[in-house]
Symmetry: D2
Subunit: 257 residues, 4 copies
């Protein structure tokens, strides 16, 4: 059997007149869209518009909740209490779900955004808040998480469907964590390199870390493509093409569970 | 048969550390809670807390969506496009619904807040956006509207359940519109007067306007009690007591449809 | 003596990670930068960065205050009281002034943004709030206003320096008002047409309205170039070049008073 | 010579319709008002109103800048870069200064709010950003800081006037740090206890920590009274009265430098 993978991208992050990303151009190359929910980015009209774009391209939609920090784009650490975080995530989930339902779309997954994603990988309290938000609303939602993260471990324990996510366009440390954006070399923009990393990730479940060592993954469900870099469309296209050339099936992540 | 009425109040309007209203004290005297949804007031944790309070007091919950204007508490006119308004309302409905569902509560109704309520009474485009938001998400929701408002008329035409709302603690113009808050005498705070106005409203479907004339209503489903005045609890208590003394049944509005 | 004109552009409207405009590319072609102040766009770090860019290009800086409506980019009507508006404008002025002073730059002018600019052209209360904000803080600030607007008239009466502003890339109605952005043909993007309109505006103080009639201006001090259109840099470059070819001096507006 | 002390309070933290604190009632009992600047609380109209209140009561005004986190009231940790923080503080300083100047008031001091105050006590980068903001705008501003904090140490090194602040209504750990608000016993509300703590703080420069040990201060310039507790007015009144009874002069902090 051919290997298979989901390709996801963060979309719908524009806010009113403030445009971010290349949503309509990227849609054809992905299978799962993580839609911002109004806190770190996204506004109601943008969210609805993005759901429609996804529907047209037969791309599955998921929630991409973030910290309430529009100015920091959800990329700054914030100290919320577990209860604040839980209700904040449920709020965002519900808002997107209602908009998706007006287009007869159901949410497939949830992927926490930015600093929330990174903190929930290490901090039990945040991971638990996310997991409870899913259990309290729609326990069928697939949780996107880094392999070996606390979010992945606790989510699995709690009985959630957890999709292990890998990044083809981000540098890895040898311990499997991402090199922070602020560090040089954190973002890989060469389409050829990213595409071949993507193929190796799926075929061998391996990626070369920034220090030259090899990081191995037990299991991988989805590859993230960033949508807000200048050559994001090119990147997405290259990855998709390289995966197909390598006989890898690109499918919505819900077909894996 | 005894006359009957629903008593509603705007609640959950606190925002983080900024407390507004007397939510827990007012709950015992009302039957329907209009819960702010995060735009003019309310934050996720407050919304969840308010749902729990309502549940404990067996009070029905509804959405109280407003303009995206926290600084102006949703009381300032804002020029949104119909599509912006529609998605903004769906967003707020969905967010509250998800939080309510975690407490096994369903939304009973929707009541637009502040300037949105007032503009939708006169402007078809805004009324239509609200109506479509309900039809697109949960067409069982009861729409609260002023009698003779465009929102009431268009909502009825569209097949929505429309609850006609009257205010016992606000002065009326002789044409049935509310005296604007900025005008003197707009807010009636004497508990005795408010209570007897409430009884007359239900029994006779009449209220005395600010110019001494009589305003008549064909039908009334619910009376609004304001929760953010200094004597709001006293007012709510007096109204509830006066209604009971007058042998008026106080029931959730959903029992009328 | 050669005719002379100031060329201004709205800049610094990015918000955190949300980038708008082509600030650094446009700077070389303008003489006055209207810097957003954090309400409709702009954040403290962006504002400071924009002041630095202007300083490097020897471009004068001014405040570009807007309504507190980030989601609507300050382009939606909002009903503020005069006192709310006055203090809101003083707040924004002071914030930018402090940031400018850290770079030893003084504010040259103030240009209200979007809906505030349009409403203040017609509504005395808003014009007065803007004028008082200037008189209360720094009465040397030059107020940018449309010719024949109430803001221009009342500002002149109050003793303010008022710079009459004309738009080369926006269509005019025959009464001298701008064709609203929502109407087709409101934005003129052909660089040749815009450049020759600019030259005619300065030399003849005339522009052809959307209905073919001619609009005349008594006096003109500054031409606005929009910075957020896709070909904004090309436009600014063409205008600047055409003005120079026509022997029109392009100077900071403060040299006219 | 009699001992002397400044009494300060955080004021102007209301946001639009959201009222916090008892500003007008507390003014008569304090000598320095820390006015919120629109980020964790405060809006332009409220800020101006608070400046006027202070002026009427002959209370000195200072800036009380906070994190951009209205929902969390600036009490949640946030990870800003040094440059983000510096420009954010300058922005808030300038905004308040402009509003104060319209009432012919000058800013006397700056006191960082909430989490910013606490983090700047320990983290050099945040302390430096605050210090640079003062040096870049108005180096005469007195910086309020906890004794032994990094903000106090680095501020003194940089040549700033630093006022050492002590809290009479907050419990201390034996190392001189504040017991976090989340811990029981963190807030002391008994007016008698708070008043006698205040007197002892000024006379002996000592306070009893939560574990019974004694915390000593080398020097103290100002005592903070919290304005948002239910008995804040009573507390302020009791402290002021107790200080006077003990022959302690209560003076604006600027008279100490």
């Amino acid at each position: 059997m051919n290997p298979k993978i989901d390709v996801n991208c963060d979309l719908g992050e524009s806010y009113g007149h403030f445009r971010i990303g290349h949503d309509s151009e990227i849609m054809p190359y992905i299978t799962s869209a993580n839609i911002a929910c109004g806190f770190h980015g996204g506004d109601p009209a943008t969210m609805l518009h993005t759901v429609r774009l996804a529907k047209k391209s037969k791309v599955a939609v998921g929630a991409h909740p973030g910290f309430p920090d529009l100015m920091g784009f959800g990329r700054r650490d914030m100290g919320l209490s577990k209860e604040e975080l839980r209700s904040t995530v449920i709020y965002q989930l519900g808002a997107l779900e209602a908009l998706a339902e007006t287009e007869n779309m159901n949410l497939q997954h949830i992927k926490p955004h930015g600093a929330l994603y990174n903190i929930a990988a290490k901090k039990d309290e945040y991971a638990e808040a996310l997991i409870e938000a899913v259990l309290n609303t729609n326990s069928d939602l697939i949780m996107f998480a880094m392999p070996d993260s606390r979010l992945a471990e606790l989510g699995t324990e709690a009985g959630l469907k957890v999709a292990f996510e890998v990044f083809a366009d981000r540098a890895y440390n040898s311990d499997g964590s991402l090199v922070p954006r602020s560090r040089e070399g954190a973002i890989i923009s060469d389409t050829g390199i990213v595409a071949s990393r993507a193929v190796r990730i799926v075929k061998e479940r391996k990626v070369t870390a920034i220090d030259g060592q090899t990081v191995s993954f037990n299991r991988i469900h989805t590859i993230c493509v960033h949508g807000d870099t200048s050559n994001a469309v090119e990147l997405a296209k290259s990855i998709r093409k390289a995966l197909q050339t390598a006989n890898i099936q690109v499918l919505c992540v819900n077909s894996f569970f």
